[in-house]
């Protein structure tokens, strides 16, 4: 599904002294199947933005279209929208409530009123794709480890079979290994299911490695929007709004400034290793 935001404005606490313009005329277009990284400083409006994507929040002005259809239209089916656009909120493990892992994951498909067999099938599939072992199906979700809980919570959204998957800081609070596992898992699911993914994150390193396109939020407005290398080329502007480019990218651009390498626009460790080792070998040969 393609998503279009047209001058979307959101104001919290309208008409009170706590009024806060959390989104200021945000416009963009996301094509079907894109992998988007949404980054921004704390309080820049990322969570507010994604809640508009499945109609949990309504914009105060502007329009949102899915596949060209306006979701504020009366005819637009909200239920289908919620099914098609899955949101995994920050710390989703705090939303588990059922007595067993299986039941918790089945909550979504059950709400869709699917036949029993279908529900079971989706539950198993979802748990499998997040790497939760079958032996854990019948235990209480509250007895799982933090990382496992988060996987189960993500499975609960995957079981709805969304066409667009939005994840708000899915790796927050996990150790490096856990972060990598979760992010790898998301990248894999996207490949397999061929869905649109929006990954919200503070971490440039995480985003750089996985996504195709980065959108940068700053104080409620969309400050930058482009491919990873396009956005990271604006190092100064990023630093001004409290973000930084990945450290490896800093190193590479310093090396370029020193005239040691030519190729810039490198932001993952892998690429950097490739370029640097090539350069070292060249140096040896000389």
């Amino acid at each position: 599904m393609s998503i279009t935001f047209d001058k979307v404005v959101h104001i919290y606490g309208k008409g009170t002294s706590f009024e806060k313009r959390a989104l200021k005329e945000v416009s963009f277009h996301i094509r079907d199947g894109e992998f988007i990284g949404l980054i921004g400083h704390t309080g820049s409006g990322k969570s507010t933005l994604i809640q508009h994507m499945n109609g949990l929040l309504k914009c105060d002005s502007g329009n949102i279209y899915y596949d060209g259809k306006d979701i504020s239209d009366r005819e637009y089916d909200r239920k289908t929208l919620r099914q098609n656009v899955g949101i995994v909120f920050q710390y989703p493990e705090y939303q588990l409530f059922e007595t067993t892992v299986e039941k918790d994951v089945a909550f979504g498909p059950n709400n869709l009123k699917l036949p029993e067999l279908q529900v079971q099938l989706r539950t198993f599939e979802a748990l499998k794709s997040v790497g939760i072992d079958d032996s854990l199906l019948d235990i209480s979700p509250f007895d799982l480890s933090g990382g496992q809980k988060r996987r189960v919570a993500i499975a609960g959204v995957l079981a709805m079979k969304p066409r667009v998957l939005i994840l708000d800081e899915p790796a927050a609070g996990l150790d490096p290994r856990g972060r990598r596992d979760i992010l790898d898992m998301i990248a894999r699911i996207r490949r397999e299911e061929n869905i649109t993914v929006v990954l919200v994150s503070h971490s440039m390193e995480d985003v750089a490695e996985y996504v195709d396109r980065i959108m940068v939020m700053n104080d409620g407005a969309l400050a930058m929007d482009g491919t990873v290398s396009e956005v990271f080329a604006h190092r100064k502007e990023l630093e001004e709004i409290g973000l930084s480019v990945p450290q490896i990218s800093l190193l590479m651009s310093d090396l370029e400034d020193a005239g040691l390498i030519k190729d810039n626009g490198i932001y993952t460790m892998e690429e950097a290793v490739k370029v640097l080792s090539k350069r070292l070998l060249e140096g040896k040969r000389k």
Binding site: F89, Y94, Q95, M160
Partner: protein, 263 residues
């Protein structure tokens, strides 16, 4: 949204009323409330009305904000009006079937509604201008003498301030959880009462779990800072009377004494 409930909410400002000692405001509110019940003529409300107007103007709390708090009482007020209009005996002004509107009924209804409005707005002014922590500190200090009768004043005050502190947090949390379950297709808006109550389970369970988790964390954090009840505890910001507090107290006494001379 759940967050929009304003009744009894603090309105941040730097006004004289805001800076007043919580104890003065508390005593003032009590005196004000008593004054509302001392008289049964409209003239009796005049001093309270003037008093309240002065405080609202000084406090800088917008009238719209106050009116929002009154809106929550609308249902009760309508109830009060209907009861008084139809159930007070007196000279009949209009009659329809078993309903009779009497002159005394109209007067009574107006009187009661006025009293209720003055009551709600007046006590609201205290919570709009006093932070919960000041409020409980003030109450703790005022009720300290009860400690002689083995009333755990400090502990009760502490419990109150923690409860007040956690209300907005839990409301926000409930909002978050509701959204997350809605994203999984939960429906809180349709169906009969039983169905709606059942739909709340996916919200209430995580909410309780998180409330217990927070309570545990808070207890640990308090213990880690050597909290051991009220005995020998000192305050970072001890309540202290300033000039403005003495002035207001004198004005308050004047108000109360003046009331005694009212016909």
């Amino acid at each position: 949204m759940i967050r929009d409930i304003t009744i009894g909410q603090y309105y941040p400002s730097e006004s004289v009323i805001h800076r007043l000692d919580a104890r003065v405001k508390f005593i003032g509110t009590i005196a004000y409330i008593i004054s509302l019940f001392l008289f049964d003529t409209f003239w009796g409300f005049l001093p309270a009305f003037v008093w309240l107007t002065v405080i609202i103007v000084l406090s800088g709390v917008p009238v719209r904000y106050i009116a929002k708090g009154l809106k929550a009482m609308l249902f009760l007020m309508i109830f009060l009006i209907l009861f008084n209009i139809f159930l007070t005996p007196g000279e009949v002004l209009a009659e329809w079937w078993i309903f009779k509107i009497t002159d005394n009924g109209l007067i009574n209804a107006a009187f009661m509604v006025l009293r209720l409005m003055l009551l709600v707005v007046g006590s609201g002014m205290m919570t709009y201008t006093t932070t919960p922590s000041q409020l409980t500190a003030g109450m703790e200090s005022l009720f300290k003498p009860l400690g002689i009768f083995k009333v755990p004043v400090h502990e009760v005050a502490m419990m109150m301030s923690i409860a007040l502190r956690f209300i907005p947090i839990l409301l926000e949390e409930a909002d978050k959880i509701m959204k997350a379950q809605q994203a999984r297709g939960a429906d809180f808006e349709s169906g009969n009462i039983l169905k709606r109550a059942k739909a709340l389970i996916p919200v209430l369970v995580p909410l309780f779990v998180s409330a217990f988790r927070r309570a545990g964390e808070l207890a640990e954090a308090m213990e880690a800072r050597c909290y051991h009840g009220g005995k020998g505890r000192t305050k970072l910001h001890p309540l202290k009377f300033a000039k403005r507090d003495y002035v207001s107290l004198i004005l308050l006494i004047g108000f109360v004494v003046g009331m005694g001379f009212m016909p």
